[in-house]
Amino acid sequence: MRKLAPVCVALFVCCDVSAQIIKKRLPQRLTRLDSIFLRDEHFRMETLDSAYRYFAGKFNVSITYDTLYARRHYLNYWFSNTPLSRAIEISTREQRLRYSIDSVGNVVIRRSGKVLAEDTVSEQPPVQVKYAGAATKKNFILSGRVIDFETGEPLAGATLLLPGSAEIYTTSNEGHFIIPNVTNDTITITTSKVGYKVSYTYLNPGVETRNLVIEMEQATKTKLEEVSVIAKRPDIVLNSEEHISAIKMTPAKLAELPNVGEKDVMRGLQLMPGVSAANESSSGLYVRGGTPDQNLVLYDGYIIYHVDHLYGFFSAFNANAMKDVQLYKGGFDAIFGGRLSSVTEITGKEADKKKFNLGADISLLSGNIFTEIPVSEKISITAALRRSWKGPIYNWIFNKVSGTNSDESASGPGGATTETNAYFFDLNTKVNYRANKNNEFIYSYFYSTDKVDKVQSFSFGSPPGGGGAPPGGGGGNFGANDMTDLTTFNNRGMSMQWMKKWGKHLKSSSAISYSNFFSDRNRTNERTTTDSVTAEETTVKTGVIEHNNLKDVSLKTQFDWETFSGNTLTLGAFASYYDIKYTYSQDDTSTILDRQNYSTMAGLFLQNRYRFLKQKAELKPGIRASYFEGTGKYYFEPRFAASYKLLPGLTAKGAYGHFYQFVNQITRDDVLSGSSEFWTLADKTNVPVSKAIHYIGGLSYDVNDYLFSAEGYYKQLTDITQYSMRFSSVLGSKNYTEHFFTGQGYTRGIELMAQKKTGKLTGWVSYTLGQAYNQFDVYGASYLPANQDVTNEFKIVGIYKLGKWDYSATWIFASGRPYTAPGGSYQVTLLDGTVKDYFTVTSQNSLRLPSYHRLDVAVNRHFYNDKGKEIGYLGLSLFNAYNRTNIWYKQFYVSGSEITEVNVNYLGITPNLTLSLKMH
C-alpha cells in the first residue's frame, strides 16, 4: 500500500546532520553549493517546484527535477544559515527523492523508490523532464521494467503507449516490456495501470535503451486529504541550534494552543523552558530569573516599552500581524544590547506578493481584522487591527484586577452618574518595497493603547431662575463636580529599514526607528462653583495626576560580510536619543515629582562567526562598545559563543557575555490606584547603569523526530535598582523624595527539555530548576529571594491532530513565589482622633506562596477551501480547566488586635471561543 509522502515538520539547523536518516546518498564532494548560505528563509507549505525555482533564481544554480512531482509535494522548513547543498538535501529528505550535485554545482533531483540490486539508478539520466533537444537515435529497440515507485516491486499488466501509434505494449509478470520500434529518442511514453497514476516518461539521448526503469505512483485517495495530511504537520515551536538559548516560533500556529481569549505570542513563549509561566498578571517575560524590564522587546527594529494589555493578561502583540518571533534567553550576540537578561525579536508579517488576503477573528474578548495587499510587483502592504469589546471575558478580568465593574454606568445619589469605559486597541502595518534584487525598503508602524476611564459627574445648586436642586446642594452658588479616574497606556513605534546586498558576500541592513511610550493616570476631582451673586467661576482640582512619557529615536546599521567560506564578519554602529519625562502632582498645585532626563547613547559592535572542522565547530567572539552620555562613561561588552558537534545530532554549546542596561523600569506601589510603572534613565547620582555577566553551557541531541536538550546558566547582576517613594522628613523640601536603592544579585538554573516534533501527537516537556536572589543594603546584608524567584517549574504541552481537528493541552506547575508578611502591627491615634494601623516587617520575602498549577485545554476545528488550503478555524479553549485557586498575592488587615490575611487569586476556570476566517 502506498504511504503518503510525509512532509518535513520541525526544523533544526544543523550544518552536518548524520547520514542515518538519508536512504541513499551519492558520493559528495565539496561544491560551490556548500558556500552559498540561506540566511533566514522560511518555507511554509511551499511546493518543491516553487522552492527549487526560487533557489535557482536567487543563487544562480541549475536544478533539474520532475516538475509535476515537485508541484504536488511540499517543503516545510526553516533554513537559518544553512548551506544550499544541505538545503537541497533537506528538501529531498522524506520525499522519496534523490539528488546529485556535480562538480560545477548543477543539481539534479530524481525520484527514487526502493533500490533494487540490479538497478543502476545513479547512472540513469532523468526521464521526468521533457528533453528539448534534437533526436540522435531513430528506430531502435527499447526494453526495460515498470516498477512501483514506493515499494520497487515490478508491475505486471501495465500498458505502454507511444505517440502516433495505436500499438499497446503490456508488461510481463516480472514487469518487463520490449518495444521493438521506437521512432526516436525524444518521444514521450505514456504508461498506465489500474490503481496507479499515469506516468509520462520523456526519453532523451542519454537514456539506457536496454534497461529503462519506469516508476509508477499509486493513485491517491483525494487531493483534499493529501493536503489535509500536510496541514496536520505545521511547525509550532522551533528550536534554533544556530544560537545557544534561542527559541523561534511561528505566531500563526499559536492558534493551536489553549488561550484565554487571545492567541498570544508572549503566553506562547512562556511555555518554553527558562521562561516563567506562572505570572498571569504580566505578559512580559520573566526569563531565567530576570524581570520583564530586563528583556529587550524589538518589533521590526524598534523597542516596545510596554507589552501589556488589560493589566498584563495579554500582550500588545497581535499574532496575526507577526511573521515570527525569536527569543534569546541569554548570551545573545553583540548585535543586541541595552538589557540584562534576554532579547525578544519580533518580525512583522510581510504581505503575500501575489494574492490579496483578508481575514478576521472574533473571540469572546476581542475582534481582529487583517489584510495583505500586494499593491504591485514590488510593493506590498500588511495591516492588522484589533480591539477588545466588553464581553464576558474582558469584564471578568477587569473586575478581578481593578475590583470594580467595567460595565458600570450607574446613577448615584445626588444625581451622580458613573460611566466606565475600558478597552484595548492595537494596530500594526508594514509596507515592503523591493526596489530591485538587491535593495529592499521596509516601513513598519505599531500602535497600541489601553484605556480605563471612569468618569463620575454630578451637579449641585441651581442656576438662578429654575431647576430643582438635588438634596445636599448649596444655595445660590451652583456648579458641577467631575470625578475623573482615567488610566491610559500607549505605545507607538515605527521604523524604516533598508536592506541591501552589495554583492555575493556583503549585505547591510540600516534602520531609523522611533518609539514612544506614554502613560497617564488621572485621579482627580474637579469642582466648578459659580457664585450666584458675582457670577465668578472658581475651579478647584484635587487628586493625583501622574504622567510618564518616553521617547526613543535610534539609528542602527549593520554589515554582514562573508570574508571567506565559513566565516562571517559582522560590523555595526548604533546611536540613540532618549527623552524621558515623569511628573507626579497632587491637588493641582503641588508637583511632588518632576523629572525630565535626556541622554544620548552611541556605539559600535563587531562580531565574527567562524565555522571550521567541516562545519562541526563554530566560534563566535564579539564585542560591543557604547558611550552613554548620562554617566559620561564608556562601556565594553565582550561576548563569546561556541558550539561543537560531538556526534551526529549531539551538539555542545556555550556562551559568555557582559551586558549593560541604561534604561530602567521602576514599579511604584500606590495604594490608592494600584501599582504603576515608569521608565527612568541611569545617571550619575541616583540610578546607576546595571550590569550582568552570563555563563551558559548546554547539550542538545536531535534525532529524527525528537529533540532533547539540557542547558545550565548563571547570571551575575550588579548595580540593580529598587525604588521607593517616601514622605520626606527633611524640613523645607518637597513632600516626597525618591529613594533608589542599589544592590546586587544572581540567578542560576538548569533547564531540561524533551520535544517530539513530528507525528500525530507532538509537544514537549520541560523542567527548570532555578534560583534568583538579590541583596540590597536597605534590607540587610544577606541575599534574599527576589519576587520572581521560582524554584521548580514544570511544563508539559501536547497537541494531537486528527483530520480536521486538533486537540491540545498544557499543564504548568510552578513552586510558590516568595512574599512578605507582617511580623506585627500597631496603631497610632492621630491628632484628630482617627486611628491608623501600621504593619511591621521583619524579613522580606521570607515566606512562600503555595504552588501554582493549572491545566489548559483546547479543541480546534479547521476549515479548508476546495483547493485544500486552510481558510479558518473555530476554537474552544478552557483556561484553568480544573479551576485551581492560585494565589496572586495577599492583603493584610488589622481587626482589633489580630492581623487577618486575605488572598487575592488569579483567574479561575475561563472558557473562550474563537472564530477565525481568511481568504487564503
Binding site: 514622605f727 506547575f813 492621630l830 491628632l831 511591621t840
Partner: protein, 271 residues
C-alpha cells in the same frame, strides 16, 4: 512517548511536593512608642507592644509598666514615672524651641528618639468668627424650588516663613448639635470633626459645606514637625510590597514628636 511522559510527571510531582516550606513570619519584639509633646503641657510617653500575627511567639519578657524611661531636654534628664497608662512627669512642662530626647532600654536594646518643639503659630487670623447657614430639611423643598444662600468660605491664615508643617483640625464642641443638612433619614450622622493633611502652607480654606453641624466649632491650628507628617503616608498592605513604615524611633516603632498649637473659635449659626 506516553509512558515516559507519565513517569516524568509523577517524578516531578513527588519531588516538588516536598519543596513546600512555609514558616510563620518572625516577630521582632520592639516597642511601639506614641508620644506627643504638646508645648505647655506635661510630656506623656505611651509604650506598647506590636500585635503579632501568631499569638505569643517571640514576645520578650519585658514588663511594659516597669521600664526606665528617660526624657532629657537641653539641660536635664528626667526619669518618667508610669501612671495610669503612660509614662509622665508632672514636674516637667514642655517648652517651645527645646530639643527633647527619649531613651530607654527594651529587650536588650536602647530605644531612642529626639524631636524639637515647634514654635507657637504666629499671626493667626480667621476671616470670620461666625457664619450663617440655612437649614436644609424636608420642609425646604415643600414649596417648590428653594433658593439658598451660601456664605463665603472661612479662610484661616498665619505666618509660615520657615516653611514648616501645619494642620487644622475643626471640632464641634456643642453638646448634641443640630445637623445643618437633615434630609436623608436613616443615614449615619457625620463626624463632629474634620481635618486636612499636614502641609507646608500659610493658609487654609474651609468651605461652608465642611460644617455639618450648627454650634461652636473649635479650630485648632497645629504647628508640626516632619516626622508627624510621615504618619499620613499611605502604606501598602499587599504581600508584594510590604515594608516597615518610616519612624523616628530608633530600635522601635511609632512616633515621638513635638507639637504646638493655637485655637480659634467659629460659631455656625442657623439662618
Amino acid at each position: 512517548m506516553r509512558m515516559p511522559t507519565l513517569s516524568i510527571i509523577c517524578f516531578f510531582l513527588v519531588a516538588c511536593s516536598a519543596c513546600n516550606k512555609s514558616t510563620s513570619p518572625d516577630y521582632n519584639d520592639r516597642p511601639v512608642v506614641i508620644s506627643y509633646l504638646f508645648a505647655g503641657r506635661h510630656p506623656t510617653v505611651q509604650i506598647s507592644r506590636q500585635a503579632s500575627t501568631s499569638s505569643g511567639v517571640g514576645v520578650s519578657s519585658e514588663n511594659l509598666k516597669t521600664l526606665k524611661v528617660y526624657l532629657s531636654d537641653d539641660s536635664t534628664v528626667h526619669l518618667l514615672r508610669f501612671s495610669d497608662t503612660v509614662y509622665t512627669d508632672t514636674n516637667v512642662v514642655v517648652a517651645a524651641g527645646r530639643n527633647y530626647k527619649l531613651s530607654f532600654l527594651y529587650n536588650g536594646k536602647e530605644v531612642t528618639a529626639s524631636t524639637i518643639i515647634p514654635s507657637h503659630p504666629v499671626n493667626v487670623s480667621s476671616s470670620a468668627t461666625a457664619i450663617w447657614l440655612d437649614k436644609i430639611d424636608e420642609s425646604t423643598f415643600a414649596s417648590g424650588p428653594p433658593s439658598f444662600s451660601m456664605p463665603d468660605p472661612v479662610d484661616i491664615e498665619w505666618t509660615n516663613d520657615d516653611k514648616s508643617y501645619y494642620m487644622l483640625v475643626a471640632e464641634n464642641t456643642t453638646a448634641d448639635p443640630e445637623l445643618v443638612r437633615d434630609t436623608i433619614s436613616n443615614s449615619s450622622r457625620p463626624a463632629f470633626s474634620f481635618r486636612n493633611q499636614p502641609s507646608v502652607t500659610a493658609s487654609v480654606r474651609l468651605p461652608s459645606m465642611s460644617f455639618e453641624y450648627f454650634g461652636l466649632y473649635r479650630l485648632v491650628l497645629y504647628h508640626l514637625q516632619p516626622e508627624y507628617a510621615t504618619l499620613y503616608e499611605q502604606e501598602s498592605n499587599s504581600s508584594q510590597s510590604l515594608t516597615t513604615p518610616v519612624t523616628n524611633i530608633v530600635n522601635g516603632f511609632g512616633i515621638f514628636t513635638g507639637i504646638n498649637a493655637d485655637t480659634l473659635y467659629l460659631q455656625v449659626i442657623k439662618n
